[in-house]
């Protein structure tokens, strides 16, 4: 293996770790600044939302996916295109509700939590809550109001990480008054 090739892989690894390490440092800082885990969870969700509303543009520009016709298509795009593009993983989609308005994303491994351990004093912390905010913000920009929440977390001893996605309603474009 040439030294050049090694340098390339090293660079990619550093690049990936940069994000996860920065995220870890951010969560640690938030835990210092806020007194309880619930507030940290809310902050992470809010920050994720702000990222999501901008990330969607990057996603649409790079992925060339067309408009999704239903929630099932949306689920596929989230798991097979978006997660793959941004986090290099492909969660599986399971547990569809009979009405087709809820599903679960199962992450075998969550890149955000490499090298992370949750201390007992922070048992209510949803470490990766940024992801839920990102999903919510991004989907809102494509006219979907959804709820995303973690229902299983490997950091808390569960076997997998599971995010439950629920479709709330379609967001209609608001027409200015006087126009029909």
């Amino acid at each position: 293996m040439s030294r050049q090739a090694n340098r390339g892989t090293e660079s990619k690894k550093m690049s990936s770790e940069l994000f996860t390490l920065t995220y870890g440092a951010l969560v640690t800082q938030l835990c210092k600044d806020y007194e309880n885990d619930e507030d940290v969870n809310k902050q992470l969700d809010r920050m994720g939302y702000n990222i999501g509303v901008r990330l969607i543009e990057d996603f649409l520009a790079r992925s060339n996916v067309g408009r999704c016709h239903d929630f099932r298509e949306t689920a596929d795009v989230i798991a097979k295109v978006a997660f793959k593009m941004y986090l290099g993983i492909t969660p599986s989609i399971t547990n569809w509700s009979p009405a087709g308005d809820e599903f679960s994303l199962i992450l075998e491994n969550n890149p955000l939590v490499d090298f992370v351990e949750l201390p007992d004093s922070h048992s209510s912390l949803i470490y990766s809550n940024l992801l839920c905010g990102v999903l919510r913000g991004a989907l809102e920009m494509v006219q979907m109001a959804v709820e995303a929440k973690f229902v299983q977390d490997t950091l808390k001893g569960d076997g997998v990480t599971e995010i439950r996605m629920r479709f709330i309603r379609r967001i209609e474009d608001n027409l200015p008054a006087g126009e029909e």
Partner: protein, 158 residues
């Protein structure tokens, strides 16, 4: 593998978050926010440095370490090399980036110069932290004359 763009988005949001929460609008509060961002960067730089393979860390000379920062570390963070590295051969190095990605979204010229420091604090801390792991105590400051170019001034001391 996390996509590189995620770091940029996260960084922007981090700066906005830590800045917005500052109750003291005077320079005292500003300094605190900047030092929090620097501290975060330092810890990340340290951790990144610690994860490098042994042979990368065996820099015989200060200049080799700086070159590593300018090429490998910068490429890992921003998918480009630093545009210039100068030294006075007495322990001070100037690293110049003519199109620093974390400043590019703020347009070009001098309109937002006042805002620039908060977008540089994390990266300065990161350089300092990485140098620390490589065995150098250093002082890293950054200056912006016109967006999106910036200079980092590093004074490593073994």
């Amino acid at each position: 593998m996390a996509d590189a763009v995620l770091f940029e988005f996260l960084h922007t949001e981090m700066v906005a978050e830590l800045w917005a929460r500052d109750p003291d609008p005077g320079s005292g509060g500003k300094k605190k926010s900047l030092s929090v961002l620097e501290g975060l960067g330092f810890r990340v730089g340290q951790a990144l440095g610690e994860r490098l393979p042994r042979e990368t860390l065996a820099f015989r000379e200060e200049l080799d370490a700086l070159k590593f920062l300018c090429k490998d570390l910068w490429a890992a963070m921003f998918q480009k090399h630093m545009d210039g590295l100068r030294t006075n051969h007495q322990g001070t190095y100037v690293l110049q980036d003519n199109s620093f990605p974390l400043l590019i979204t703020m347009g070009s010229g001098s309109q937002y110069l006042e805002e620039a420091p908060k977008f540089l604090a994390f990266t300065c801390g990161l350089l300092c932290g990485a140098l620390h792991t490589l065995g150098f105590q250093s002082l890293v400051t950054a200056s912006v004359a016109a967006l999106p170019a910036c200079k980092s001034l590093g004074s490593p001391q073994v």
